[in-house]
Each structure stands twice: as structure tokens, then as C-alpha cells.
């Protein structure tokens, strides 16, 4: 028996898979609607984890970032890193000695985002 062969799906399973795929694509489009927050919940957590590492002076590679989350799979984190990069919150910088290694860097947009969060925290702490 060939252990590497993929199981054949029935036509019903294919239909269900197609329905789920359409739902996922629709959900992603809904997430991008104008006026909605720029980052989804997972992106926020990924960015916060990176901020914590950067705050301690650490340089974080893509591979390290993919392993930083306890509640999201490495694939999910990688996907969110791509969207964070697309949205302009992070940039990638190749290692000088090994160009396969890429370090994640904050952008000015990320710095503004953290500054705004800090202002909100300050304002909240001053509330009676």
C-alpha cells in the first residue's frame, strides 16, 4: 500500500470543501471592509509578541516568530506575518551571513501603532 497517496474525496466532500473555501475567502474580504480595525486578533497578538522581544533588544527571525505563539500554529503565524508585512507594520531584513535567515523589523507604522496604544493606556490610567 502506498502510504504517500492522498485519500480520494467523494463528490460530497469536494462540494463541502468548495463551500468552506468560498466561506473562507468571503470571511477574509469581510475582514478588510473599510472602517474596520486594521489588525485582526491574531495579528495583534503576533505584533505584541514581537514588540515584547524588540523591547528587550532581541532580534527576531521569521522562524523564531513562527514558534512564539502558544495558541496559533506556525502556519497561522506565518500567514499573519505576511499580512502584517503587506499592511506595512513589519519589514524583513536578510542576515548578512546567511541570506536564508530573515529578521523581522518594525516599521514607522508599527512604532506609531505602539505609540497610540501607549497613549490609550496612559489616558485609561488617568481615568478616575
Amino acid at each position: 500500500m502506498d502510504r504517500t497517496s492522498t485519500p480520494t474525496l467523494t463528490s460530497s466532500q469536494i462540494k463541502m470543501k468548495q463551500t468552506y473555501t468560498r466561506f473562507v475567502h468571503l470571511a477574509r474580504a469581510v475582514r478588510q471592509l473599510p472602517g474596520t480595525p486594521a489588525l485582526d486578533a491574531v495579528e495583534e497578538r503576533v505584533l505584541e509578541s514581537l514588540a515584547a522581544a524588540w523591547g528587550q533588544g532581541q532580534k527576531v527571525t521569521v522562524l523564531q516568530a513562527m514558534g512564539m505563539s502558544d495558541d496559533s500554529s506556525p502556519t497561522t503565524v506565518h500567514r499573519r506575518l505576511k499580512s502584517l508585512r503587506k499592511k506595512g507594520f513589519i519589514g524583513l531584513h536578510e542576515d548578512e551571513t546567511d541570506n536564508r535567515v530573515k529578521f523581522i523589523e518594525p516599521t514607522a507604522q508599527a512604532d506609531e501603532y505602539f505609540a497610540r496604544l501607549g497613549q490609550c493606556l496612559e489616558a485609561a490610567s488617568k481615568q478616575p
Binding site: 473555501t21 475567502h25 497561522t76
Partner: protein, 182 residues
């Protein structure tokens, strides 16, 4: 088509129709203040459900909307309103299906909605609103002539679009809470 596939299609058609009825009744009672004319509202939530259900479930959802619309139209009038109910049902289910096909062609979308972004989704909402309003008003204009039919078309289009936007933004918040990893 296998028995299982038929059963699944029947279930989808039944459930989508039921969802449409519930949202319609909610719109009629909770948003009755948005009524402009008979069958025309400034905010029409079922149009948002129409868009999302047909996008995800395709033809079974269109059939679900068709039977539920026919039931909602024909129920108050009984047998005497059978013709009106059937035509309204066909238009209510057929219009979003036609709009979906038109959207795919105009926006160059694949069948699995790959590449759909917010901009394309909003354009699709507009196409759905115009198509559904045009077909409904064409039928109403033929069966019940009225001097302000053009105005009713405009309000119905706006109402469908407003209802769709409400449903889409509500979906955003539901997804954020229930499925943050999607």
C-alpha cells in the same frame, strides 16, 4: 447525483430559506419604521443575507430564497395570490443568482471566490442591489402599475445596499469574536 448529495442540497435549501424567513420577519417588525412602500424599505436586511448565502452556498441558497420568498408573499393571500407568490419567488431566488454570475464576469472572480477583497465585495453588493431591485420593480411595475415606480426602484436599491452593509459589518464583528483565526 447521489442520495446523500440530494439530501445535503435539500438541507441547505431548507435552512437557507428558513434563515431568510427569520431575517425577513425581523426586518418587517423591528425595522418597520424604514418602510417606504409595499415591499420597499430604506433598510432591507434580507438582501445582505441573500448576498452572503448565495456567495457561500450557490444555487441551493438561491432555491432556498426562492421558496421562502414565495411562501412569504403567498401566505397572506392564499390561493388567489399563487401566481404572484410563484413569480416573486422565482425573481427573489433568480435575481441574486443572476447577480452572482454578472459579478463573477464583471469582477473577474473565480468560482471559489479566490482573490475576493473588500473592494470587490462592495462592488458585488451594489450589483446585487441594482439587479434585485430592477427585477422586482419590473415585476411590480407590470403587475401593479404605480406612478412612482422609478422612485421605488431607487429606494429599493438603496435599501438593499444599506441592508447588505449592515449584514456585512455585523458579520465582521461575529467573525472577529467567533473565528479570529480565519
Amino acid at each position: 447525483m447521489s442520495l446523500v448529495a440530494c439530501g445535503r442540497m435539500g438541507l441547505t435549501t431548507g435552512l437557507t430559506g428558513l434563515a431568510y424567513i427569520l431575517v425577513y420577519l425581523f426586518n418587517e417588525h423591528a425595522l418597520s419604521f424604514t418602510r417606504f412602500a409595499d415591499g420597499v424599505n430604506w433598510i432591507y436586511l434580507p438582501s445582505g443575507l441573500r448576498l452572503t448565502l448565495v456567495l457561500v452556498f450557490g444555487a441551493p441558497a438561491a432555491l432556498g430564497i426562492a421558496w421562502s420568498s414565495a411562501l412569504l408573499t403567498g401566505w397572506p393571500e392564499g390561493w388567489s395570490g399563487l401566481q404572484s407568490a410563484l413569480v416573486t419567488g422565482v425573481i427573489s431566488g433568480g435575481a441574486p443568482w443572476i447577480a452572482l454570475l454578472a459579478s463573477r464576469r464583471v469582477l473577474d472572480l473565480q468560482e471559489d471566490l479566490a482573490g475576493l477583497d473588500a473592494r470587490a465585495l462592495l462592488k458585488m453588493a451594489l450589483i446585487f442591489a441594482i439587479t434585485c431591485a430592477a427585477l422586482h420593480q419590473a415585476w411590480y411595475g407590470w403587475s401593479q402599475p404605480a406612478p412612482d415606480r422609478a422612485l421605488q426602484f431607487a429606494v429599493m436599491t438603496l435599501g438593499d445596499l444599506a441592508g447588505t452593509l449592515v449584514v456585512l459589518y455585523l458579520s465582521y464583528w461575529i467573525l472577529r469574536k467567533a473565528a479570529p483565526r480565519l
